[in-house]
Symmetry: C2
Subunit: 205 residues, 2 copies
Amino acid sequence: MNADKVPDIIVGRLPIYLRALQGMAEKGMRTTSSQELGEHVGISAAQIRKDISQFGEFGKQGTGYSIPYLIDKLREILKVNRMWDVAVIGAGELGHALSHYQGFTDRGFRVAMLFDNDPSKIGKKVGEFIVEDSANMVERICSAKIKIAMLTVPAVAAQAAADKLVQAGVRAILNYAPVSLNVPGNVHVQYIDPATHLQRMTYYL
Amino acid sequence: MNADKVPDIIVGRLPIYLRALQGMAEKGMRTTSSQELGEHVGISAAQIRKDISQFGEFGKQGTGYSIPYLIDKLREILKVNRMWDVAVIGAGELGHALSHYQGFTDRGFRVAMLFDNDPSKIGKKVGEFIVEDSANMVERICSAKIKIAMLTVPAVAAQAAADKLVQAGVRAILNYAPVSLNVPGNVHVQYIDPATHLQRMTYYL
């Protein structure tokens, strides 16, 4: 397995497979086929077999995949066979929702800190978190060795916040601000912007 | 221009270009180049020129692109030179955040209705909306001719809600529930699942 050699588009499908397999496991299923998995995720069986075979031989012809085994392997490949602490920057409605989101822990993530620069929010309790002053962001994230952040600040504040995150040693940013970020090549950014997703669909309507 | 002939990966980049151009326009800029636009969005100038040329000749060699003109053209291509009403299904924290989100209106979308099946939420005011009973969802969405919905219900409820949306005539679903949906071929689905996006990045860490 060589991380550099696998196209990012394949890497992007692995979390979808893992999510579907975890759903199957919750229903008590123990084995599946590329055909069945494909029907769950809307991807062809051939594509799934090809994607998974990039990382080794995890299934047997005729008997298919062991669900618990394939879950373990995918968690290992995606490095979520451990718990990652995540910092949330921006304690608005979205920051609140993410801090309370129940769907992270069984997928490898745990919100550990929540920051805002608004004096009326700093020090307030949000679920189990106290909103911290973003002035201390670099120091706090750096000393906690947090490598992942979710950015929910307004668009105008996003680049400056991203610069601070990079300075703090963050290597992966999930950016909810509707603006492209400039970061060094060793920092990964993924974008979540509902309007962009909607526009991609209206094209076809 | 033939919608069927343009690869979806190109369609997916157009909203990113539009967003960057609107940001430039807000800063008072009137013209740009594929080089400059590329630096904003992290995509090569050659790729941008190739993508945009799928739809016609919108720039001039040497003088570049007129920002207002290219914005108009992209809005036309993406069919957001009009306002789309959107139904939000699920009035939890995320549904609240989306109902209040300020970033939709200047990009072609307006939340028009908010539904939930929880009796303690139905009838409650959320911003300017009254949470409606999802039992009436099909009838309400159908009679309002709403074609777009955002799904923020729990994973276990998502497929049933999607079936209702399809029945109501919805053609584009932005699904926040962490589960793949089965819908007819003429219905478009885009997925927003933060854990999936994070896992795509931890692979590289």
